[in-house]
């Protein structure tokens, strides 16, 4: 039984002060975002409008060369090289050393999975496949006919230029031209972002 006057127990862990401040700042920025510095705003626009297919800059070439050397030297202290190695291993895993494999099997409890666990894994896989199929179905039904296959990644789609009439559902009011341009620019900016992700094969 709890003693009277003791502080109420909370099911949540209390954040360290530093993280609490960080979270509090993020929440207040989301609620009432402050003005962005003009220079930073310009830079953000430049980055957003940068051509993703443009030839690499001198700085990018230099960084790529440094990364290549780090990978060749198998330097696992470099964050970028560590991420790349993990990605490469996921895509084309190298052969596992026999002794290492035996050690891993041993530490994992050994032997095959119990029958119940195999059934659970099979069921999870089946449910996941069904959900993925359902999601594909819904996405295909709802996606507007406003795109074509991305040349660099034919399985992905690129938004194409087209009339903006579908963005509006009523006659145009005199004196509301700015609002209309706002709506058009916002919609197409979103599509340009999607096109860039598609070009990178990331959508």
């Amino acid at each position: 039984m709890k003693q009277q006057g003791s502080p109420p127990e909370t099911p949540f862990a209390v954040l360290p002060e530093e993280q609490e401040e960080e979270l509090s700042e993020a929440l207040s920025c989301a609620w009432a975002p402050p003005d962005v510095d003009a220079a930073l705003h310009r830079r953000l626009l430049e980055i957003a409008l940068e051509d993703p297919l443009a030839p690499p800059s001198a700085a990018e070439r230099e960084e790529a060369e440094r990364l290549r050397r780090t990978l060749d030297d198998a330097d696992d202290t470099d964050d970028g090289a560590t991420v790349l190695t993990a990605l490469r291993s996921a895509y084309t895993p190298s052969e596992l050393d026999r002794a290492r494999e035996r050690a891993l099997r041993g530490s994992g409890g050994g032997g095959a999975l119990p029958r119940r666990a195999r059934r659970a894994a099979w069921l999870l896989g089946a449910v996941g496949t069904a959900l993925a199929a359902a999601a594909t179905w819904v996405a295909w039904i709802d996606v507007p006919r406003s795109f074509e296959a991305t040349p660099s990644h034919p399985s992905l789609r690129t938004y194409v230029s087209r009339s903006t009439t579908p963005l509006f559902d009523d006659r145009f009011a005199v004196g509301a031209a700015s609002a209309r341009v706002d709506r058009i620019a916002t919609a197409r900016a979103r599509e340009l972002r999607d096109n860039r992700f598609a070009n990178w094969g990331l959508r």
Partner: protein, 184 residues
Amino acid sequence: MNVRSAIIVGFLLTACSRSDLPDCPPDTAAPVDAELLAFLGRARSAHHAADQLERRSDTAAAIVKLKQVTSGPRPKTRHAEVREVLADTLARIADLEGRRGDFEVALEHIEEGLGLAPAPSYFQGHLFEVRGLVEERRANTLKENGQEAEAAKATERALEAFEQAMKIQARVIDQSLEQDGGNR
């Protein structure tokens, strides 16, 4: 194959059979690209700047600002969005010119805008609506100057333009409803 496997395979086959829906591009239109966004961003800034100038009652400066869009750089590709934004900008310039009493100049901008919006759309309908407003203002001015016969002709032209605008808007709404019906 057990029952669960059959259900999953059936589900997948049904989903795949709908591949005719999204993968057919509507035409060989250009992709939404940075050039288009740069144009739209420029137009957006010009319209907002014109809003500020209008609030200061500086109509002439607002027109100059908007003309920077219509006579400024355009993307090399003929984007539908560019034509539509230009048509809308020309309609706004025409409205401002009409308010200043430059009726002929206003109507020239309307004609230029109609060249960019040749098919029925909200943009085309809006241009006819502004044409009606320009003629209406012209009729009022002529009436104030005692030119009753000329004022009556301008009123007639205003009525025709408004009628045309209404027909176009009705057609656009009908088309939109048909498309909605087809999509259901």
